[in-house]
């Protein structure tokens, strides 16, 4: 397997405050990887650094080409979709406009229309509500919309920041099932940041555990899930 995203010695800063201390990891093409860790460990910062939304040093390579110095929007246009914490829904716009916005950097209008139909098959509830203001959707529906909006980019890599946040357990299961399906069928490489370690490890094939801005553990998701020590010290269940 070739590695699609390579992160080496990543340091990130919010003003004077350092959040990441030399993080290194890589994602294989087609993999579904999870990044675990407690509150404030640096998970969100890692995703934001990949999209150049926070000041960072170190090397980030996508398909062998460096991302440093590129603007957020040009990184996204390379095929990296980022579903941010809090979902980033355009609440005053309709569901369909949100999906259109996901594909705003694409030029193939016919394919965009058929992709919207495909999203409605993946997420039937969005079709029912396609003329509704996105802000009127429930939390779970908004998360579905955020994932669908990201997919409208036809991304090669999808970054998800705590997709389970604030959702009912049943909704989370549904969502994770869909993520697995997208990973297998659409061949989208996925990196998902989660606090819900148990569920994330069930879903993922690779896992990294991060603590105070450093990677402290990495390996197969199933190994990490069964490792008593790791579970007790880092994952807290």
């Amino acid at each position: 397997m070739t590695s699609m995203l390579n992160v080496r010695d990543l340091h990130a800063y919010y003003g004077q405050v350092q959040a990441l201390y030399g993080l290194s990891f890589s994602l294989n093409e087609g993999s579904l990887t999870t990044l675990l860790g407690a509150n404030g460990a640096g998970k969100t910062t890692t995703l934001r650094a990949i999209c150049n939304m926070v000041r960072s040093t170190g090397a980030i390579e996508f398909d062998g080409a460096p991302l440093s110095g590129k603007s957020t929007e040009s990184i996204v246009r390379l095929g990296i979709a980022h579903v941010p914490q809090g979902r980033g829904t355009f609440t005053t716009m309709t569901v369909e406009e949100n999906l259109q916005l996901g594909a705003i950097s694409r030029k193939d209008t016919a394919a965009i229309a058929s992709d919207i139909e495909r999203m409605y098959e993946h997420f039937p509830v969005l079709k029912e509500r396609h003329t509704q203001q996105a802000g009127t959707l429930s939390g779970g529906e908004q998360q579905m919309l955020a994932v669908a909006r990201a997919l409208m980019l036809r991304p090669r890599l999808m970054l998800l920041d705590e997709p389970s946040f604030g959702l009912a357990p049943l909704v989370v299961r549904d969502l994770f099932k869909i993520l697995g399906k997208i990973n297998r069928e659409d061949k989208v490489t996925i990196l998902v940041v989660e606090q819900n370690a148990q569920l994330a490890l069930e879903l993922a094939d690779q896992a990294y555990v991060i603590e105070t801005g450093r990677i402290v553990m990495s390996g197969n998701a199933s190994d990490i899930a069964t490792n008593e020590d790791v579970r007790k010290s880092y994952l807290g269940y």
């Binding site: 957020t72 929007e73 040009s74 980033g88 829904t89 355009f90």
Partner: protein, 292 residues
């Protein structure tokens, strides 16, 4: 009754200009969260450009289109040179930037074209519209051109991809970048469009107030009042606020003897204060709640 209808129609026609100015102000406010104090001066400068083109013999409607194009480019240029570098600067720095822009444009216009009052032609003439004494052809033309432009803008923002991208960039810049929108250029585009809308307002009002470097001062105050009344977060509200403002101003001037012509402007200022005290979000705006 005829006087009343006459005043309402006259109010709607000047209201159209206030609506344009309010819309221009709201477009920039939506994009960068600042009030453009120089919006009126930009419009005045555009009007002078139109006047100059006509002096050189360019026909009216060609002048109109050319002026819009030049103003659009000028708006983008101002954003790139002055306000893009100030994007992360504190509010007061930006306010100083707007005041500087105001002073510079005003002086340059005075220097280039001097401060004497000039006549500005109307393509519609000033005869009675459709034989009715209620409204003149120029007033009808002001309303017509404004409505056409508003419909055009609505279609642009509602049904084009670039309009959608501009709305997204104004609503949630970070999310917009995450779908690949170059928000910085969307802001510049907003400036260009605001400048062009202002140019329309200036060209339409110039035959009424005559052309001189301070012609837009009062108009911009009404524009601000209209924007505040309709809600700074709502383009539609700003437009409705503009028309309301024009009608209220005219009726008050006609029927409240104490107001007359001299106290019309304080009405706009009083309205700003009343709205800000009792309904800060305006009639159509969204209340913005910030976590601190």
């Amino acid at each position: 009754m005829e006087l009343f209808i006459n005043q309402v129609l006259a109010g709607i026609s000047t209201g159209a200009i206030y609506a344009c100015m309010a819309l221009a102000v709201v477009m920039i406010y939506q994009a960068i969260d600042h009030l453009n104090f120089a919006q009126g001066e930009m419009a005045m400068f555009s009007t002078f450009i139109a006047w100059q083109l006509m002096q050189w013999g360019v026909p009216y409607w060609w002048t109109f289109l050319l002026t819009l194009a030049i103003s659009f480019a000028g708006g983008i240029l101002i954003e790139r040179l002055l306000f893009k570098p100030l994007a992360k600067a504190p509010v007061l720095t930006n306010v100083a930037g707007f005041i500087a822009l105001f002073a510079i444009i005003n002086s340059v216009a005075g220097l280039t074209w001097d401060f004497t009052i000039k006549e500005f032609p109307s393509p519609f003439g000033s005869s009675a519209f459709l034989g009715s004494r209620l409204i003149s052809t120029h007033q009808a033309g002001m309303i017509g051109v404004t409505l056409l432009m508003l419909v055009g803008l609505y279609l642009f923002f509602q049904f084009t991809r670039i309009g959608l991208a501009m709305r997204a960039a104004a609503a949630l810049p970070e999310s917009a970048r995450l779908v690949g929108i170059n928000t910085s250029w969307m802001i510049a585009l907003g400036w260009g469009m605001a400048a062009a809308i202002g140019a329309v307002a200036g060209i339409l009002i110039a035959p009424v107030v005559f052309l001189e470097p301070n012609m837009m001062g009062g108009v911009l105050v009404y524009g601000f009042a209209a924007a505040v009344l309709g809600g700074l977060t709502s383009p539609l509200g700003a437009v409705i606020g503009g028309f309301l403002m024009g009608v209220v101003e005219n009726l008050a001037g006609t029927y409240i003897p104490e107001v007359g012509n001299e106290l019309k402007l304080p009405i706009a200022l009083a309205l700003i204060i009343v709205v800000l005290v009792f309904k800060p979000a305006g009639l159509f705006g969204r209340a913005i709640i910030k976590r601190v």
